[in-house]
C-alpha cells in the first residue's frame, strides 16, 4: 500500500506528513491524539544518512513535543549493503537510532510501528522492532532471508526447509510467523485509526514479545529460559 | 666414385633464422632493438612458432608468463597447431585452453596444482595427450636431451633494450629454460613488467634473448609458501615436537628441506622455542634448501639458520631477504636470486633429510597425492624425497641412517638420506591417510599411465611420523615388519586397527616404533603456546617489520 493511503487511513482527522527522498515525516491526528510520524518508503535500504535522519526526527519529537506518541511506518529492504556505509559504521548509526527510540520511550513517548509494505532484517531492528507495539498489514512481508538463499547458506535443501516451514514459524518469511513468535503484536485490518487508538489506550513500555510468543505457541523456549535465568542462584 | 651429398649441419639454425626474418617482416617498424609492443605479441608468436614445435611456456611453481600464455591462446590455430607444450607447472586456465582451441596437443609437465581436476577431465575426454609427468629435475634434464624447446616463452621482472633480463628474487626456472633453448637454435621471448635503461643485475644475458615484450600488467605470482601460524593445530605441534626430538636431534640433522604444509611450518616455528629448550641450537637445522618461508623468520632471527638456498622467492619476503644477506643468496644488487634447478639438485644431493606430507600411504610405505579425479603431478618432492644413490660425501646424519639400515640388511658401508613422511592419520572429513591401495592405481588405469603416479616410493622412506608416533623403517628386518611398523602408527584408520598388537608392541620394545612418551614428550605440553609465532602479525613483528605479507594473509 502507498504510504499516503496508509497515513490517510490511520489519521482520518488530519495529518501533515511529507516525503523527502525515502524518508517520511510529519504528524497526524487520531481522535484526541496527535502522533508524530516517522518512516521510510519505496522498499528503501537504510544507509547511514537515512538512519541519521530518522534519529534526528526522533530527537526533534523528544525536544519539541514531550510525550507525543511516535508512529513508525516501516517499508525497507534492509540495511544498505555498501562498503562505504560499513566503512562509516552503519551499525553505529542504526544503534544510535535505536537509542533515540529508547530515550523517547523512557521519556514517556508511546512508540508504535506499522509494517505497511516490507521489513527485512537489519533495517527493521533499529526502529520498527524497537516499538512498544509492533503491527503489520496482513499483506506485509517480514523476513530475515528468503528460503532459497537460506538453503544455500545453511546447505539444507530448499524442499526440506519449505516442508518444515509449514509446521514451524521459527525461520520462514511471513508476517503470520512473526505474529506467532510474538514479534508482531497484531495484524491491523479494517479501520486503521481504530487500531491505533485502541493501542494508544493500553500501551505500556515493557517488552512483551517473549510472553506473547509463548502464549501463541510460536516461541516456546525464550520465555522459560529467561525465567530460569532470573530464578538461578 | 660418386661425390657424397653435401650434409647440412645447420638446418636448425637456418630454420631459426627464417623464423626471425618472418618476425622482422611481421613486426616491421614496431620492433625496436629487441622490444616488441604488447599489441604485436600475437603476430610475433605466429611468426616464430611453427606447427608441431616444442614450446616451453614458463609456468613455474610461483611466477607465471601469464601475458604470453594469454597471447598464445589468441593465435590462429589454422596457422599454428599441434604444439608440444613443455611446462613445469600448469597453473592458469589458459594453459589448458590451448588444447581446447586446437593449438596444442601434447603435454610434458611436472605439476598441475590448481588445474589438476580440469586436466583429469580433459584427459578423460581425450582432449589432451600427456607425454609424461616428471619431477622438476627430470623435466629440466630432458630440456637438454630430447625435449629441447624450439621456442621458450619466459617471464622476468625487467629488461633493457638489448634483452638483458632481471628476474628479481623469483628467478625460478628461467635460467634452465633459456639456456636449453638459446644454445640449441631456439627462440627466446620474454614478457617483462618494465623496460629499464639498465637492469639491476643480469640474470639472463641479452644475447640469449630474442624478443622482449613489456606486458600490460605485472605478471601473476602466487604466495604459495605462506602458512598462517593461526591455523596450526595442537596435534601438529605435537607432531613437530616428535620430529624435532625423535628425528632431528636423534640424527643431528643439519642440512635439510621441508615440504610446504602446516605440519612442517609447525616444526619451523618450534625451533626457537622447543628445539632451543632442548639445547639443539647449532646442532640441527643450520643449512637449508628451502623457499623463504615466512614461518622461518623466528628461527632465522634466533640464529638457528646459517644459510638458505631457494627454488623461488615468496611474496612479501623481499625486504626481509635483502636485509639478511648472510642467510640468503643475494646478488650484488642486493636482491635474492633463486634457481629451481640448482636448489632441487641441492635438495637431492646435499641435504640429509627431507620431510613432507602426503595424502595417502600404503602398507609398503609408498605415498601419493594422486586422487582419481585429479592429475596433479609431483613437483619437486620426489627429487628431495629420494635417497641420493649417487651421493658420496659423508655427514653424521647420513652415516647414522646408513648404519641403521645395515643393522637389518648388511652391505658395504654407505650412508642413507632421511626421508620422512609426516601425516595425521586422518585428514579433514575423516579421510584416512593410510590405505590398502593408493588411488594412484585407479588413476593410472583411468588415464592410461604406464606406471601409477607414486610421489615417494616406500623403499626411499625412512620414517613415518603421525600423531601416534614415529615408525623407523630403517630398523625393519623385512616386509612384514615394515607393514606392522606402518600399521603401528596408523592410528584408528582401518590399516591401524588391523595391526598385529603383539608384533607392534615388540617393534616398540625394539625402538622401531616410538610413541611420544617413549621420546620423553608429555602430550599436555603440546599447545600452541610453543609456537614462536601464532599469527602472521607475529611473523611481521619477528622480522622487525621487514616482512610485508600479501593483503589476503592479514587480519589487521
Amino acid at each position: 500500500m502507498e504510504w499516503k493511503s496508509v497515513v490517510e487511513k490511520i489519521f482520518p482527522d488530519g495529518h501533515e506528513v511529507e516525503q523527502t527522498g525515502n524518508l517520511i515525516r510529519g504528524y497526524g491526528r487520531c481522535g484526541p491524539h496527535t502522533a508524530a510520524v516517522i518512516g521510510t518508503t519505496d522498499h528503501t535500504d537504510v544507509g547511514v544518512e537515512l538512519a541519521l535522519a530518522m534519529a534526528a526526527a526522533v530527537i526533534n519529537v523528544i525536544r519539541d513535543h514531550p510525550a507525543r506518541p511516535i508512529v513508525f511506518l516501516v517499508d525497507t529492504s534492509g540495511q544498505r549493503l555498501r562498503h562505504r556505509d560499513e566503512l562509516l559504521g552503519l551499525n553505529g548509526y542504526m544503534a544510535h537510532l535505536a537509542k533515540c527510540v529508547e530515550m523517547a520511550r523512557r521519556r514517556g513517548h508511546p512508540i508504535i510501528s506499522l509494517v505497511y509494505e516490507q521489513a527485512l532484517s537489519g533495517g527493521f531492528l533499529a526502529n520498527g522492532m524497537m516499538a512498544d507495539v509492533c503491527a503489520a498489514l496482513p499483506e506485509a512481508e517480514i523476513r530475515v532471508m528468503g528460503l532459497a538463499a537460506m538453503a544455500r547458506v545453511t546447505r539444507i535443501g530448499e524442499e526440506r526447509l519449505t516442508e518444515l516451514s509449514k509446521s514451524s514459524p521459527v525461520f520462514a518469511p511471513g508476517a503470520k510467523n512473526y505474529l506467532l513468535m510474538g514479534g508482531l503484536d497484531a495484524l491491523w485490518e479494517g479501520d486503521l485509526s481504530l487500531c491505533l487508538s485502541a493501542v494508544l489506550k493500553n500501551i505500556d513500555n515493557t517488552d512483551h514479545r517473549r510472553s506473547l510468543g509463548y502464549e501463541r505457541g510460536g516461541r516456546m523456549l525464550a520465555y522459560p529460559v529467561v525465567q530460569r535465568v532470573l530464578a538461578s542462584a | 666414385m660418386q661425390k657424397p651429398t653435401e650434409k647440412i649441419w645447420d638446418y636448425e639454425r637456418q630454420r631459426r633464422n627464417r623464423k626471425l626474418e618472418r618476425a622482422a617482416s611481421a613486426l616491421g617498424a614496431s620492433l625496436r632493438d629487441k622490444v616488441v609492443p604488447a599489441d604485436m605479441a600475437v603476430q610475433l608468436l605466429e611468426a616464430v612458432i611453427a606447427p608441431g614445435d616444442r614450446v616451453c611456456l614458463e609456468g613455474d611453481n610461483q611466477k607465471q608468463a601469464d601475458f604470453l600464455a594469454k597471447s598464445l591462446t589468441q593465435i590462429d590455430p589454422a596457422k599454428v597447431n599441434r604444439l608440444h607444450m613443455l611446462q613445469s607447472v600448469l597453473a592458469l586456465p589458459e594453459h589448458l585452453d590451448l588444447y581446447e582451441l586446437g593449438i596444442a596437443e601434447l603435454l610434458d609437465f611436472s605439476f598441475s596444482g590448481p588445474q589438476a581436476a580440469r586436466l583429469a577431465r580433459m584427459v578423460g575426454k581425450g582432449q589432451i595427450r600427456i607425454g609424461a609427468i616428471h619431477t622438476y629435475l627430470e623435466l629440466f634434464s630432458r630440456y637438454f636431451v630430447d625435449l629441447t624447446p624450439h621456442v621458450a616463452l619466459v617471464v622476468a621482472q625487467s629488461a633493457d633494450a638489448q634483452g638483458n633480463l632481471y628476474t628479481g628474487p623469483n628467478t625460478e626456472d628461467t635460467p634452465a629454460i633459456v639456456e636449453a633453448t638459446a644454445f640449441k637454435n631456439g627462440i627466446v621471448i620474454a614478457q617483462v613488467n618494465e623496460l629499464v635503461d639498465k637492469v639491476p643485475r643480469v640474470d639472463i644475458p641479452g644475447d640469449w634473448v630474442n624478443f622482449v615484450i613489456p606486458s600490460p600488467r605485472p605478471h601473476f605470482i602466487e604466495p604459495l609458501f605462506t602458512r598462517d601460524p593461526a591455523q596450526i593445530s595442537e596435534i601438529q605441534v605435537l607432531m613437530a615436537m616428535m620430529a624435532i626430538k625423535g628425528i632431528y636431534a636423534e640424527y643431528g640433522v643439519q642440512r635439510l628441506n621441508h615440504g610446504i604444509g602446516f605440519d612442517t611450518a609447525a616444526i619451523e616455528l618450534l625451533l626457537p622455542t622447543y628445539a632451543a629448550s632442548l639445547g639443539l641450537k647449532g646442532k640441527i637445522c643450520s643449512h637449508w634448501a628451502l623457499n623463504p618461508h615466512p614461518t622461518m623468520i623466528p628461527a632465522i632471527e634466533a640464529g638457528f639458520v646459517k644459510s638458505i638456498h631457494s627454488f623461488g622467492s615468496e611474496l612479501g619476503m623481499e625486504n626481509y631477504i635483502a636485509a639478511r644477506p648472510d642467510v640468503f643468496f643475494n646478488g650484488p644488487d642486493g636482491t635474492m636470486r633463486s634457481n629451481r634447478a640448482y636448489s632441487q639438485a641441492a635438495g637431492h644431493y646435499a641435504c640429509d633429510l627431507f620431510i613432507g606430507s602426503t595424502l595417502q600411504i600404503d602398507m609398503a610405505g609408498n605415498s601419493s597425492t594422486a586422487t582419481l579425479d585429479r592429475i596433479s603431478g609431483f613437483g619437486g618432492a620426489p627429487n628431495m624425497g629420494a635417497d641420493a644413490a649417487g651421493r658420496r660425501h659423508a655427514s653424521p646424519a647420513w652415516l647414522k641412517a646408513g648404519e641403521q639400515r645395515r643393522s637389518q640388511q648388511p652391505g658395504i658401508p654407505r650412508g642413507r638420506k632421511l626421508v620422512v613422511q609426516m601425516v595425521e592419520t586422518f585428514r579433514e572429513h575423516m579421510q584416512p591417510a593410510f590405505v590398502a591401495e593408493l588411488d594412484a592405481w585407479k588413476l593410472a588405469e583411468f588415464a592410461s599411465m604406464p606406471i601409477p603416479p607414486v610421489m615417494i616410493y616406500g623403499e626411499d622412506v625412512t620414517h613415518i611420523l603421525t600423531e601416534e608416533g614415529i615408525a623407523n623403517l630403517l630398523l625393519c628386518a623385512n616386509a612384514e615388519e615394515r607393514e606392522q611398523a606402518i600399521r603401528g602408527v596408523a592410528g584408528y584408520t582401518e590399516m591401524g586397527l588391523g595391526r598385529d598388537l603383539r608384533m607392534v608392541e615388540n617393534l616398540r620394545d625394539r625402538g622401531v616404533i616410538k610413541r611420544a612418551e617413549d621420546m620423553g614428550i608429555d602430550k599436555r605440553d603440546a599447545t600452541r603456546d610453543l609456537l614462536a609465532a601464532r599469527s602472521i602479525k607475529d611473523l611481521v613483528r619477528a622480522s622487525g617489520g621487514l616482512y610485508q605479507p600479501p593483503a589476503r594473509f592479514r587480519n589487521w
Partner: protein, 108 residues
C-alpha cells in the same frame, strides 16, 4: 545431514571423585566433551552425537582405549561431535577427564 547417536558402556572402573567438566567447542572438525559424576555402579557410560556418520567402529576403538587409559568409573561422558579426527577426540577426552579429576581434588 543426520546426527548419529552412539552409546558405550564400560564396566569395572574406579570410582573417583570429580566435578562436572566441559572442554572443547562444537565447531567444524572439533567436539565438546561433558564429563559428569553418575552413580553407575563403577561403570563409565558414554554417549556420542556426531554429524559424521558411519564411523561407529572407530568411535568404539577410541572409547575403549580412552577407558583403558583412565579406568574412571561412575561417570557419564557426553560428546557432541562435528567431524573431529580420532586424534582430536582422544585429546579432548583426556583433557576433559583430567579437568574433571583435578576439580575433584581441589574441591573441599
Amino acid at each position: 545431514m543426520t546426527i548419529e547417536n552412539l552409546k558405550y558402556r564400560f564396566d569395572n572402573g574406579t570410582t573417583t571423585r570429580g566435578v562436572t567438566a566441559i572442554v572443547g567447542v562444537l565447531g567444524s572438525g572439533n567436539l565438546e566433551v561433558l564429563v559428569e559424576p553418575a552413580a553407575l555402579g563403577g561403570a563409565c557410560e558414554i554417549e556420542v552425537k556426531t554429524a559424521a556418520n558411519g564411523f561407529g567402529a572407530i568411535w568404539h576403538a577410541v572409547m575403549k582405549d580412552f577407558f583403558a587409559r583412565h579406568r574412571v568409573g561412575d561417570i557419564r561422558v557426553s560428546v557432541n561431535d562435528a567431524g573431529a579426527t580420532p586424534a582430536i577426540v582422544s585429546l579432548r577426552l583426556d583433557q576433559a577427564i583430567e579437568t574433571y579429576l583435578a576439580q575433584g581434588r581441589t574441591k573441599k
